[in-house]
């Protein structure tokens, strides 16, 4: 995305984006997930967000691990390189790819099994490094592909047809993210198109790792009304922390639309505008984020919005002090030292 400051582009949504492409051009292959799956809604939101931002798909990589959610990168951004890797290890593959090509945009899709169970280690280390990527957890509290076992984010006391009753407290993806020093922590609901799209755009503009925990009901194995990861529960219990608007760097901020708001400027010059709903919420206060998340967890309340954002922390790529040309694009002349250098070293051996 360009770093150009506010320009005169109209705010209305054009039929083609900044690159002159239609939304259809950002589609992937047809989905093979169950009809009504929350994951497919998320794929649609990704298509919309990336198209509206005018991102060049060829410079995007779509990363995933294993599971229903990890299949979805095949279903959006058909002109981006994609990598469906191994279970729970999408972060390490993305780390390698971003280290050698710093100009790419990484969009990672994972699930609650892929992230909170087998992949919890790599998930946390990716945040420790502040890897530049959007890390979407399509969270349904259940293992779908293996037909209905509990995941680590399943509610305590939840009953599943074959798995019985879950005796453990769920692992909260957002709290884990905060504890691992994530610089962007947000939650949304697959059924909330408007909020999810705004969050996706903000996550893409964030220069470090942006965690998006998206509650995405499993229509086949976990859509009982009692589950916090069901459509009915989500619709009834979703409490928005704030109303969100994302203003890309090429659009004017429409200050007039909002009163009582907080603005956070992202590294590329775009703005995240949060309108407060009742409570005073400061998304730069980490302790407040912990408390808010913990309270919501205890009350089994589906709280959505941006819990925490810290836009300034250097990202992983910046810490490596590499050439501005991506390493993978360097020539032999740039990567093979001369004969004299070898002679010099051997003289010391």
């Amino acid at each position: 995305m360009s770093t150009a400051s506010a320009s005169k582009r109209p705010a209305r949504t054009p039929k083609t984006n900044a690159l002159g492409l239609e939304k259809n051009d950002y589609k992937g292959r047809p989905s093979t997930l169950c009809k009504g799956c929350g994951h497919d809604s998320i794929s649609q939101r990704i298509i919309s967000a990336v198209w509206e931002l005018g991102l060049d798909q060829t410079q995007v990589i779509k990363m995933s691990g294993i599971g229903c959610s990890s299949k979805t990168p095949a279903y959006f951004l058909g002109h981006s390189h994609g990598f469906n890797s191994v279970h729970g290890r999408m972060p390490s593959v993305t780390t390698g790819a971003m280290a050698v090509n710093r100009t790419l945009h990484a969009v990672g899709v994972s699930g609650d099994g892929d992230t909170a169970s087998i992949g919890v280690g790599q998930f946390k280390h990716a945040m420790r490094r502040n890897l530049p990527m959007v890390y979407i957890v399509e969270n349904n509290g259940v293992y779908g592909l293996t037909k209905g076992q509990f995941s680590a984010t399943a509610d305590k006391g939840q009953v599943l047809k074959y798995a019985g009753t879950n005796p453990y407290m769920p692992l909260d993806v957002c709290i884990e993210a905060l504890a691992a020093n994530a610089t962007f922590v947000a939650r949304s609901f697959a059924g909330d198109a408007k909020q999810l799209e705004a969050l996706l755009k903000a996550a893409i503009a964030h220069k470090g790792l942006a965690v998006l925990d998206v509650i995405s009901p499993c229509v086949t194995f976990n859509n009982h009304d009692a589950s916090t990861k069901s459509y009915a529960y989500g619709k009834e219990h979703e409490v928005q922390l704030h109303e969100l608007n994302f203003v890309p760097s090429f659009e004017q901020i429409e200050i007039d639309e909002y009163d009582d708001e907080t603005e956070v400027q992202l590294h590329d010059g775009s703005w995240l505008v949060l309108k407060k709903l009742g409570e005073e919420y400061d998304p730069t206060d980490k302790i407040l984020a912990y408390r808010t998340l913990e309270d919501a967890r205890n009350q089994q309340k589906l709280l959505t919005g941006i819990f925490y954002i810290e836009p300034e922390t250097p990202n992983f790529v910046e810490t490596l002090h590499m050439t501005s040309t991506p390493l993978a694009r360097l020539s032999q002349a740039q990567t093979r030292p001369g004969r004299e250098a070898l002679q010099g070293i051997m003289a010391e051996l």
Partner: protein, 613 residues
């Protein structure tokens, strides 16, 4: 090779053994003996003496016994040899056994603080007043233990007549010209030398003398350093690793050398990245990600790390992603003996990961070959679009040894069939990521960031057709695996060929063929001389890669008896070769040894004699 040994000048005794004995230095791990031993062996190297050092150290930071085994061989044999002529006892915990182990006629230097209960009549004892000498040196308390090891260096220098100028030069080299430690250690060695001169009879039966004909033009280094430099001079762009003995020093050597050698001259920015990962799973994941994105990427690990990497390696094999893995083998199974050498990962690595997988393995034998194969591994990985393993071991990786100098790469980097932006524009509309356009099983790949809208493909470990689209069709699956088989057949023709020794005097008369690999080389070469002396003439093939090429089949079929020599328990290479040449299976014999020590010529000789009856 013309070898000339100068007369040992100050030696009057004509019976002294010159440049042909073993020294074993027994110390406590963590006492700083690495410095004194390095200085000792480097001084001998610079005097032109063929010399080898094997560090036998425990898996421990401080306190357990450690030995440094130095062999001097005027004939140029660089393998470990059994038997100890000169024992240096600095460790009370092992002194009794160490002294017991010394050969009759040998010499025992020991710290006089160590009580010696039972004096043997057939050896010479020299009690060194270590504490006294250290005290006299008036050193800061914290440094005393470290400098104490230079007492035996000084005493040995006098007794054996080691050139003290070479000791000073070696110290200067070791401390990179830093005055203070050089002076401190040198003074200690000098004081011990003077003490020995006044108190000990120099006629101990052993001596060294400067010689020519062997070390000229050679370097002395370890395989891990050579591998790191090889990678740096062959365009490595990405290294991810997780610390594990005995491979850590490889990644650390990249960290040591690359910041100087691989920065952009104008901006001072790095043209490489080294990441210490959170575990081996992440290390290989990062390498696969970097290889996929178009970089020369590698990791270094050992057996336990290889086991952890198995799943990702299967993905890289099936999704066809270049990656290089250095396996510095140590003893297994399981945690095994982390600080002891072995070649026990050959079989499991050859077929690493579930399903039908086979990999390219390279076997370097010397530091120079580690340097060379670091480049070959990248070329092969990118040419074949697959993981390539370089199978080193603790002995080659961590012990310093005499080596040919590193050859500056003669060929440009082979980046394989990569379609970058311009090249991709020339490609027809029906480009398929996994299509075999050239019949060699190797498809054309694009890398992320290619600006063409049709260059993208979806990389997956699931079944796929030629266009990288998910497929469960039987025909697609079979066609894909058949292509991978074709690719493996291509690999046979481009991996480094075996070194065949079939035209020296003993080989010309050979009925027995020896096959071995890697760091066993010096022991095999020495064993061939010993066997010839016993009337058994041998030819020798040193395997440098798997899968085998035609030259290996020819060799196997040429001799009546073929013995496969390797440092593991089960005869892993033997097993693979029997499978490759099933009709020759009966005449392929296994000589496999795995006791944690580098293999010796004596053991090979005895084993081959047993086999040929």
């Amino acid at each position: 090779m013309s070898v000339a040994v100068e007369e040992a000048k100050s030696k009057e005794s004509r019976t002294a053994v010159v440049n042909d004995f073993n020294i074993n230095v027994a110390t406590v791990n963590g006492s700083g003996s690495q410095t004194s031993n390095n200085v000792l062996i480097r001084s001998l190297f610079k005097m032109g003496i063929p010399v080898t050092g094997k560090n036998l150290f425990p898996s421990n930071i401080q306190g357990l016994p450690t030995w440094y085994h130095v062999r001097l061989s005027k004939d140029g044999y660089l393998a470990r040899r059994d038997g100890i002529e000169i024992m240096v006892c600095m460790n009370p915990a092992t002194a009794i056994e160490d002294m017991e182990e010394t050969l009759p006629g040998g010499l025992i230097l020991y710290d006089e603080a160590i009580p010696v209960a039972n004096h043997r009549k057939d050896v010479t004892y020299v009690a060194m007043p270590v504490k006294e000498l250290v005290k006299a040196a008036d050193l800061p308390f914290a440094l005393r233990d470290y400098v104490a090891n230079f007492v035996y260096v000084g005493v040995l220098a006098y007794l054996l007549d080691i050139d003290t100028d070479e000791i000073e030069a070696a110290l200067d080299w070791n401390f990179n010209g830093k005055k203070k430690p050089i002076e401190m250690n040198l003074n200690m060695a000098q004081a011990a030398y003077n003490w020995a001169k006044e108190n000990v009879d120099q006629e101990c039966g052993y001596g060294v003398a400067r010689m020519t004909g062997f070390n000229e033009g050679k370097i002395m280094t370890d395989g891990n350093t050579a591998a790191a430099l090889g990678a740096i001079f062959n365009g490595v762009q990405f290294v991810a690793w997780y610390p594990i003995t005995p491979s850590s020093s490889l990644a650390e050597a990249v960290n040591h050398y690359a910041p100087e050698l691989r920065v952009d001259p104008e901006t001072g920015k790095a043209t490489f990245a080294v990441i210490q990962a959170e575990d081996e799973l992440a290390a290989i994941g990062m390498v696969v990600g970097a290889g996929w994105a178009g970089a020369r990427a590698m990791t270094a690990t050992s057996g336990p790390g290889i086991s952890l990497m198995a799943e990702f390696v299967g993905l890289a094999y099936f999704a066809e992603i270049p990656s290089v893995l250095w396996d510095i083998q140590r003893m297994g199974p399981s945690t095994g003996l982390p600080t002891r050498t072995s070649q026990g990962d050959i079989l499991s690595t050859y077929f690493l990961s579930h399903g039908d997988t086979r990999h390219v393995l390279l076997f370097p034998a010397t530091p120079a070959e580690c340097f060379e194969m670091a480049g070959a591994a990248f070329d092969l990985a990118e040419r074949l679009q697959t993981p390539v393993f370089v199978m080193s071991d603790l002995d080659l990786g961590m012990n310093i040894s005499i080596s040919d100098p590193f050859a500056y790469p003669a060929k440009p980097l082979d980046r394989g069939k990569v379609l970058l932006d311009d090249a991709f524009k020339e490609v027809g509309a029906d480009w398929g990521r996994y299509k075999d356009d050239d019949g060699d099983g190797i498809p054309y790949r694009t890398i992320p960031g290619n600006s063409s809208m049709r260059a993208a493909y979806f990389t997956r470990g699931t079944g796929h057709n030629e266009y990288a689209v998910y497929s469960e069709r039987a025909e697609d699956w079979e066609a894909n695996l058949n292509r991978l088989t074709r690719k493996f057949e291509t690999a046979r023709t481009i991996v480094p060929q075996a070194v065949v020794v079939d035209d020296d005097a003993t080989a010309k008369a050979a009925t027995v063929g020896l096959i071995s690999l890697g760091s066993n080389d010096p022991a095999v070469m020495e064993a061939r001389d010993r066997l010839a002396a016993e009337g058994v003439n041998t030819a020798y093939l040193r395997l440098r890669a798997l899968p085998i090429g035609q030259e290996v089949r020819d060799f196997i079929n040429r001799y009546e008896t073929v013995v496969v020599i390797e440092s593991n328990n089960d005869g892993q290479l033997h097993y693979i070769l029997q499978g490759e040449e099933p009709l020759a299976a009966k005449k392929l014999h296994s000589a496999a040894k795995c006791d944690g020590l580098p293999i010796s010529a004596r053991w090979i000789t005895e084993t081959v004699l047993d086999i040929v009856g």
